[in-house]
């Protein structure tokens, strides 16, 4: 299956979501403890998970 997609979706959708999530993660732990900290941890762990996923699913085709 080709990795190339002719998707009509804007390439900026992912960066926009990541930026919003990062801001929520940064502010969450600042405004409270407990669940607010957990929200922050989950968001940043998910972002790092995206990098790991990109590497695991990398395209090795020549």
């Amino acid at each position: 299956m080709s990795r190339v997609a002719n998707s009509p979706r804007s390439p900026f959708i992912a960066p926009a979501w990541i930026t919003v999530a990062s801001i929520v993660g940064l502010v969450s732990a600042l405004i409270g403890d407990g669940v607010f900290d957990v929200v922050s941890w989950l968001i940043f762990a998910a972002l790092i998970g995206l990098s790991v996923r990109a590497w695991i699913t990398r395209d090795r085709k020549r």
Binding site: P15, L26, I31, D33, L50
Partner: protein, 383 residues
């Protein structure tokens, strides 16, 4: 996007990145251990282990604690006294004169309840302080801080221009594409894009708040001149007092005046934080947000009476809030670990950017590559 516009953004990204990359690498590498400064301090013995207070014990008189600290450094004057949030201890900074700068200060750490002077190295010595100075001012004071602030702003411009270029390059590729089977340059470029976008929001905020932190000294001076200057005018023509009213009583009055808050630190007259005639008792709250937002209570050192409880100006609040967002020390150990991992990913973005510059080819070829949405055959690239 027109080719000329794309080329302009490419050049902005290339040059802003190139200029700041070496300094950003320095900041990322030195920032990594600084995230764990407290933990490293405990492991290496730089931060003393403090026994808990005995049941029913009362804190020692603050004036006695200050006198104990002064006895260790004869000839010094008191500068600051502060409370440790995590243990029943206080630190007392002293120096040869009231405006002694931090690198020349002496510090004594004392048990708040027993008055015992705890064995601890000076905060302005050792490997971690060396790393801290490299990270904040490269040992040249304010010019170094402002220079690193300018590098942080260039980094922010590099991030924005990188996002602009990411759009056309990725318009026919799914998010997270990493192609390692073609050329080494293409693999590094895809990695640079993925990691750059994943760290986008975090790196932008940490960069901007870092730039704001480099303005700490000028902002503090502006605050001292403007707000504290108003109070200082009332004392014009009077010399700095040599006999001070009780610090313990002053702090008790500040506690009574701000019942929902606790004292974080006290500045002595002449240190620049409370004029020449006042103790500045800086109160804070106990939530992650309010513990960063100080409320100064100014107490006349001669009469021991409260003179004013000014609200910090907006720029000081911005500065204080930018500190946790830069240091990542407000969400427990998991956030510190994630902060360090994001720092490592940012190092990978910088290193991959450098690699791409070394393998750059012509600007026209790179702009064409972006125009063709990253699907162009990677001619010119060396494996």
């Amino acid at each position: 996007m027109q080719r000329s516009t794309l080329k302009a953004w490419f050049l902005v990204h290339k040059w802003t990145s190139l200029v700041c990359t070496a300094f950003l690498l320095l900041l990322c590498l030195t920032g990594l251990p600084l995230v764990f400064w407290e933990e490293i301090g405990h492991l290496t013995g730089a931060d003393p282990e403090v026994a808990p207070a005995a049941a029913g014990a009362q804190p020692q008189n603050l004036d006695d604690l200050v006198n104990q600290a002064l006895a260790r450094y004869p000839g010094d004057v008191p500068l600051f006294l502060g409370w440790d949030d995590h243990s029943p201890s206080v630190y007392v900074n002293t120096g040869a004169r009231p405006d002694t700068p931090p690198p020349e200060m002496h510090t004594a750490i004392l048990h708040q309840y027993t008055g015992e002077v705890l064995p601890a190295p000076q905060f302005n010595e050792g490997v971690m302080y060396f790393i801290y100075r490299l990270h904040t001012d490269v040992f040249v004071g304010l010019p170094g801080m402002l220079f690193l602030g300018a590098m942080a702003l260039l980094f922010a411009v590099a991030i924005v221009s990188g996002v602009v270029l990411y759009g056309p390059f990725m318009r026919k590729l799914p998010f997270g594409t990493v192609r390692t089977g073609r050329s080494r340059r293409l693999a590094w470029l895809d990695l640079h894009n993925v990691l750059g976008i994943v760290t986008l929001g975090w790196a932008f905020v940490v960069g901007i708040t870092g730039a704001i932190n480099t303005l700490a000294k000028p902002l503090e001076q502006a605050w001292q001149t403007q707000q504290l200057g108003e109070f200082a005018k009332r004392y014009e023509g009077r010399s700095r007092p040599t006999q001070f009213a009780s610090l313990d009583d002053a702090v008790a009055k500040a506690r009574a005046a701000e019942p929902g808050m606790k004292p974080a630190f006290v500045s002595f007259p002449g240190t620049g934080y409370s004029g020449d005639h006042h103790y500045g008792v800086f109160m804070n709250g106990d939530t992650p947000l309010t513990e960063r937002l100080y409320r100064p209570v100014l107490i006349d050192v001669e009469t021991g009476e409260i003179t004013a409880r000014p609200q910090l100006p907006g720029y000081m609040t911005t500065l204080l809030l930018s500190q946790p967002l830069h240091f990542g020390d407000y969400g427990g150990m998991p956030l510190k670990i994630l902060w360090a991992l994001l720092d490592l990913l940012t190092i990978a973005v910088l290193v991959s950017g450098l690699y791409l510059w070394f393998k750059r080819g012509s600007t026209e070829a790179r702009v064409t590559e972006i125009e063709r949405a990253g699907l162009v055959a990677d001619a010119g690239a060396a494996r």
